[in-house]
Symmetry: C2
């Protein structure tokens, strides 16, 4: 159906609706091929769907913005949902392309550049897709979920390939996925409130990745060597260097270093206490259905 | 509509469909009041919707499990979606109740107990609601979004009240929201793969909160005093103490301490380089539409 050649009627309507389009009208308008027209409609739809939620964009809006008639749009797409999904697929491909980064230089700087491109994308396409990405959009479907999953997988695979760890553990994979979710949600929250400058967010997200990676290595001794070479490659003026300096500044604050040093010394084995609070609460939580609040 | 008194017909159908329910039949069955019946249907629906996605649960399944007739169920609820939303609302209330925790003891231990109850809930109710929480469920609606938002807000408010910081900054609020999103996504990922023990996840999520809080304080000097008193209250055998000990162990690994110490020393101001990689990439990212990949 979508591959039928546009009918003369639809094409006439198209020309009538768009008398002033084209590059300043300096040459006669070339008629778009079927593929070109399809791509143009997707591009126009993406532009509109990026700025407004799908329920606020009509086929008429898309037709008007594309200089096409309503029948012509229906000629290519069975309805708004199909056009929405096609534009989301294109957005997904564009976004995934932004994750590609040469395997050169300190890891946190690579991620920082990727996050710059990602946040730029969020800023320009996010407003319309935010509801979908947050969950609960009327336009959510198996098709939209598949696109979102694919972008998530692209991000995950890029990060793991840059980490260059031969057999990533389940814990490390979970860390990467959790950070991707964190980046997504944080950027959507930012979009709604813009409560901090975008460049701060860019730096924070990268530093949170570094912190998560460090925490994962603290739990998994097998990752310690990888972490050592990660830190060795970092530069003092990169995101990791800045993070380390900020933390060093923080630990210079009266009280913090003392408290942390006391914690690092570990439990003192004096007195009758043999079960730590963690074991105690853990036992309570894993008693199955007995995990409800005690009050 | 839902408050109409059940008709004699519906009630007869109910009794016929459930001849053997009640406490082992040792006393005559008391007829349920309208409210009780409604609550019972919600409880039964919640049980079914917790185990299977909504598209795999029918009104007939719910009627059979409740020992009621199909017309009786329709008597109380206009359709499956209404029953789904009612059961989700109840799940939301149960979950929010699990966030309540006395304001006593080290903060990380409070959060650890809450996470035990939360993860227990995820384990028992998550399988059916996972698709909804991930986004992309056919049952997603304005009603379900409102419930999810409310649970998120309850979590957010609980955490901020335990932090007891008079006027939380936008950065701190963002940290809390991002961590809540992280906890949600991580637990859903865990549910799908169960790649690490649940108690590990419980500890990791709490430690990630501590790390995020520390990172936020490193960026916001106004939080340093709060962080000092946070660390002072923590115990060596609690989640924070264990984290500090794990990190101390990690930094004892050859190479890591040296690399981190070099980073902490900051950029050496020798040579012509005046613009660090962070400023460079940041400038690139904030040039607006020019943020696309350079290649």
């Amino acid at each position: 159906m979508a591959s039928r050649t546009p009918s003369p009627t639809a094409d006439r309507a198209e020309r009538t609706a768009a008398p002033d389009r084209g590059a300043a009208g300096e040459r006669p308008r070339r008629r778009l091929s079927v593929d070109e027209r399809r791509e143009q409609l997707i591009a126009v739809a993406l532009e509109l769907f990026s700025r407004r939620p799908p329920e606020e964009v009509s086929i008429d809006d898309i037709a008007a913005a594309a200089g096409a008639s309503r029948p012509l749009v229906y000629h290519y797409f069975p309805g708004k949902q199909a056009l929405y999904e096609a534009s989301l697929r294109r957005a997904g491909r564009e976004l995934s392309a932004r994750f590609e980064e040469p395997m050169e230089g300190p890891l946190s700087e690579r991620l920082y550049r990727v996050m710059g491109r990602y946040l730029d994308f969020v800023q320009s396409h996010g407003p319309g897709f935010a509801a979908l990405l947050r969950g609960g959009s009327v336009a959510a479907s198996a098709g939209t979920s598949a696109v979102i999953d694919e972008v998530r997988r692209a991000a995950h695979d890029q990060i793991l390939s840059h980490l260059a760890i031969p057999a990533p553990s389940p814990g490390l994979r979970l860390t990467v996925r959790a950070w991707i979710a964190n980046a997504k949600i944080t950027s959507l929250e930012w979009l709604a409130e813009r409560s901090v400058p975008l460049e701060e967010l860019q730096l924070h997200l990268v530093q949170e990745f570094v912190a998560s990676l460090t925490l994962t290595a603290a739990r998994e001794p097998a990752l310690a060597a990888e972490l050592a070479s990660f830190f060795a490659d970092e530069r003092p003026d990169g995101p990791t260097g800045r993070l380390v300096q900020d933390l060093a500044g923080l630990f210079a604050v009266p009280g913090i270093l003392d408290a942390v040093t006391a914690l690092a010394a570990g439990p003192q084995t004096v007195g009758p206490q043999t079960v730590g609070p963690v074991d105690e609460a853990s036992a309570q939580a894993t008693e199955g259905t007995a995990g409800a609040p005690a009050e």
